[in-house]
Symmetry: C2
Subunit: 149 residues, 2 copies
């Protein structure tokens, strides 16, 4: 049976957002939030364009999703993000009471698991969906960046 | 010698921000950011008004201060906040490379120290300035809230 709207589908949408960040010279991380199998928020990292360290893809996605819902809690929502969230974003997800987090590539250095940041106890986590594609885009970005300097 | 612009002075300004949050029915937390002994950003918690869990006083202060500076790093800046930052805000402060954090009241439950969130290695921390006043305002808020329900 064909399942058109599965984790792979939504992570692909998050990857398209990451590509948009890449094209703007931003660290390529993208995110989407779904509710009842529909996308209610899309975003990508904009820290350089906005000169704002808080403008990670996840932070914008949380704000946009809450705006769509008309309430501050993301219960019943899934966040798809192409890179493992950092302390800040995981801390924001904690407050949001997000139901499910799915990330593509791990971040061994500054990811929330390495740094021990707590998610909300009700948040389920899956990872590894399109991991290779997400990692490849990140690596390409940093190689390009290095060659420019 | 009288020092008009000291930690006590700036924390008092943060407390005035917290009072504004209180008056709006928000958890009363306020913040100011200083640079060269001048206030460059002021904010207070607006999570209810904006229905946005990311709208903590510190997050807004970081964004506003970066906007004032025209760069995303808060090197040379001090953040005064009336309550110990949470994981999210400490994570944001990590990225900002803030030079100094001063908070008034500790948050034993959800404060960044209890939860082990990392600040930037260059961020110096002081706390306890106007702790009683900040705690009193928070307690008054939660007592009022309890009596309303």
């Amino acid at each position: 049976m064909l399942i058109p709207f599965d984790d792979h589908y939504f992570m692909k949408k998050a990857l398209q957002e990451a590509q948009q960040a890449f094209d703007k010279g931003e660290i390529p991380v993208g995110a989407v939030v779904t509710h009842n199998n529909q996308i209610i928020a899309k975003s990508h990292n904009l820290t350089e364009q906005l000169t704002d360290v808080t403008a990670h893809a996840e932070m914008q996605a949380i704000t946009a999703a809450a705006n769509h819902i008309g309430g501050k809690y993301l219960r019943g929502c899934t966040l798809y993000v192409t890179l493992e969230p950092c302390q800040m974003c995981a801390g924001a997800l904690y407050w949001s009471q997000l139901s499910r987090l799915v990330f593509a590539a791990p971040d061994e250095g500054r990811g929330y698991r390495t740094l021990g940041t707590q998610l909300h106890p009700k948040t389920k986590v899956d990872h590894g969906i399109l991991e290779e594609e997400a990692s490849r885009l990140l690596k390409a970005f940093f190689i390009q960046k290095r060659n420019m300097n």
